[in-house]
Every structure is written in structure tokens, then in C-alpha cells.
């Protein structure tokens, strides 16, 4: 492996940032980025799952026979997803009510699985950890960026996580919210626009 651990970490933040560059995990992107606090909650859940599943799959990579690797990866990922779901129910119930089905759906949103197949299954523990953390943080950043954009323009508010505080009328009281952005098609549009801006920036 020519790349350093730091490079494995930082590639997830820009060069291969999951929803934009890998175009994976779009389903929760559409559903949970309606408000900032939901996006942060989902981001933390994904970081947790990615880091632990990457580390464990990397640890066990020599034990797993090639023929059944997909079944084994899914077992490892599903285990951590259910742990996240239970912990969230126990300690952050309102968040769980908001995110609902999208927590169990982390199993099938392809980012943890994609990283396991493409990276953790072939690499040592430390780079896998860095890869998982970087990808997770990259995913969280994307969720947060999209949700800030959508919540301010689509609803006129900004809801901060953990402190249960939200700014009303960010753009002034006479602002008429652009409700379309809160709907799923609006999310696709924002995603496309952001990808476009990223590509423009990348060219320079």
C-alpha cells in the first residue's frame, strides 16, 4: 500500500466523498436531510457503523472465505446497525422517532457494504479504520451541507442538534419558504446542484 493512513482518511472527505463521488447511500440523503438535527444524528450513526464494520471486517478478512464474504460482511454490518438502533432508542428516542426506518436501512444503503467490499476486505486494520472514519465523516458533512441548504430555503428554519434550539425565520420574516426543496425531488435537485458546484471547483 503506497498510500499513507492520512491519505486514506482524507480521501473520504473530498476526492471520494460518498454521496457525491461514489453516489452511494442516496436514499437516506433524500429522506433525512430535511433538517439539520436529523442530518447530524444520521451522520453519527453512519460514522459509528462504518468505523466498526470496517475494523471488524479488516480484522477477520483472512478468516472469511471468498465464496461467502458477502454473507459475512452483511452479518457484521447488520449487527452494528442494530446496536446503533437499540442505543438510539435507549438514549435518543426523539431522534429515533424522526429517523425511524432509515436507521435499519443503513444496512442496505451500500456505503458500509461498498467500503467492506472495496477496502476493508483487502487492507490492514489501521488503514481500514481511517477509511471508515473518513468516509463516515465525509457522508456526515454531505448530509449536513444538504440539510442546511434545504432547511433554510425550504422551511426558513435551522434546527440545531442536541440543544433543541432552532432559529426561526433565518431569512427574515417576510421570506416565503420554498417548500419544493423539502420534498424528495427537491433533494435530488440540491444533490445535483452541489455535485455541479463541486465539479466546477475541482476543474480550477
Amino acid at each position: 500500500m503506497a498510500k499513507s493512513v492520512i491519505q486514506e482518511f482524507t480521501k473520504g472527505l473530498w476526492a471520494e466523498i460518498p454521496p457525491f463521488r461514489l453516489v452511494l447511500g442516496l436514499c437516506p440523503i433524500l429522506a433525512v436531510t430535511k433538517s439539520l438535527d436529523n442530518a447530524v444524528g444520521m451522520g453519527i450513526a453512519v460514522i459509528f457503523v462504518l468505523v466498526f464494520s470496517n475494523v471488524f471486517i479488516s480484522l477477520l478478512r483472512n478468516l472469511i472465505p471468498k465464496e461467502v464474504r458477502i454473507a459475512c460482511f452483511i452479518i457484521v454490518i447488520a449487527t452494528f446497525v442494530i446496536i446503533v438502533e437499540l442505543l438510539m432508542q435507549a438514549y435518543a428516542y426523539p431522534l429515533f422517532q424522526q429517523l425511524g426506518i432509515f436507521i435499519p436501512l443503513i444496512v442496505v444503503n451500500c456505503i458500509p457494504f461498498g467500503r467492506a467490499e472495496a477496502f476493508a476486505g483487502k487492507n490492514k486494520v489501521l488503514p481500514s479504520f481511517a477509511d471508515g472514519l473518513g468516509m463516515g465523516i465525509g457522508y456526515a458533512i454531505s448530509l449536513i451541507a444538504l440539510s442546511i441548504f434545504r432547511e433554510i430555503l425550504g422551511n426558513g428554519t435551522l434546527t440545531f442538534p442536541f440543544i433543541k434550539y432552532s432559529i426561526q425565520n433565518v431569512l427574515g420574516p417576510s421570506f416565503q419558504p420554498f417548500t419544493f426543496l423539502i420534498e424528495a425531488p427537491g433533494a435530488f435537485m440540491c444533490l445535483g446542484l452541489m455535485l455541479c458546484i463541486m465539479n466546477m471547483l475541482g476543474k480550477k
Binding site: 472465505p65 454473507a71 459475512c72 452479518i75 457484521v76 446496536i83 437499540l86 438514549y91 428516542y93 426523539p94
Partner: protein, 191 residues
């Protein structure tokens, strides 16, 4: 070939064991969270003004094969009101109705809806419209809880007859449960 079976079996059993551990460790906490966030608002609504914390003053009793959580409300120093949830059928599916009963006068103290999947803005008014819920207040448990369309006294919410009927039927069922278990509830409430 055998190795494949062994590896997958091993993975599944370790994962199963781990999950069972996490589940049992968090179960109590999750139950409490669900009480606070799902049933809590309705309990506080039906037992408004009580001087204790009904979420802590709770016990389970069996009615037939079913276990029901009972919450005790204390008013003017007397532990005389009991609240419990019962599931009924609304227009959009299952509906949870919380009923508080004053055990001294055998009267309904109030009702509240915990969970429902009624049409927003129409059937959901059984939860949000206080004038609908108020009709149950102070009615004796021996009364028949029926909507006017069925010859009873309860005004259904216009456009939401099925949801209103669902609430009335569930309250009817709940008072039956109360009558069956009254003695046990009173014993538990005092002790």
C-alpha cells in the same frame, strides 16, 4: 466446503449473542423512553394536575392473557385515579386510547390518544380537538359510550365518524377492563 458452513455459522451465532446482550442491557431504558415519549404526553394530559409522577407510579396487571400498564394519579393527597392505554381500531389502523378513571366516583376523568394513523386534519382531530375529548369527562363508567349516529350521546367529529366511533368503542372496552380489574387496581394503588 465445510469451512464455509463453519465460518458463516460462527459469524451468525456470535452476532446473535452480541445483539441479545445489547438488547437485554438496553431493554429497560428503551421501555422507559417509550413511556416518556409515546405514552407520556397522553398520560400527563389525562392526569393533568396530579401531584405525583404517574410514569413512576406504575404497575402491570393481567386481564385475560394480556398485560396492561396502569398509571396512578394522586389528587389532593389521594391515590384515587388510574390511567391505562387500550388499543382500538380507527379509520387508518390501530389507535391507542389512554383513559383515566376516577376510582372514587367511578367517573371518567379524561381521555387522550397516544398513537394513531388517522387522516391528518380530519380523523387526527380526535387527538387534537379538545372539545371532542371533553365529552367523555365526568361520565359514569356505567354509561354506554356510543356516538350519536349509533344512538349514543357523543358528538362525532364531522367527517371523521369512523375515527370517533373507534375512540368511543375503545373507551367502552376500557371501562369494561376497569370494572373487571377494579379490586386489583385499588389494592395495588393503595399498597
Amino acid at each position: 466446503m465445510v469451512k464455509l458452513f463453519i465460518v458463516v455459522t460462527l459469524f451468525s451465532s456470535i452476532s446473535g449473542g452480541l445483539l441479545a446482550m445489547v438488547k437485554s442491557a438496553t431493554q429497560e431504558k428503551i421501555e422507559l423512553q417509550q413511556l416518556t415519549y409515546v405514552k407520556g404526553p397522553a398520560i400527563n394530559q389525562v392526569l393533568e394536575g396530579c401531584t405525583n409522577n404517574p410514569l413512576e407510579d406504575r404497575f402491570k396487571l393481567k386481564d385475560g392473557g394480556r398485560e396492561i400498564d396502569f398509571f396512578i394519579g394522586e389528587f389532593e393527597g389521594k391515590r384515587n385515579t388510574v390511567a391505562f392505554e387500550n388499543a382500538g381500531k380507527g379509520f387508518g389502523g390501530a389507535m391507542g386510547v389512554m383513559v383515566a378513571i376516577d376510582m372514587e366516583n367511578d367517573q371518567i376523568r379524561g381521555i387522550g390518544i397516544t398513537t394513531h394513523s388517522e387522516t391528518p386534519g380530519v380523523g387526527s382531530r380526535v387527538k387534537t380537538d379538545p372539545s371532542f375529548r371533553r365529552q367523555f369527562k365526568g361520565i359514569s363508567v356505567d354509561a354506554a359510550f356510543k356516538i350519536k349516529a349509533e344512538g349514543g350521546d357523543i358528538d362525532a367529529i364531522s367527517g371523521a365518524t369512523v375515527s370517533s366511533k373507534g375512540v368511543a368503542d375503545t373507551v367502552m372496552e376500557s371501562v369494561e377492563i376497569y370494572k373487571r380489574l377494579k379490586k386489583e387496581i385499588k389494592n395495588k394503588a393503595q399498597g
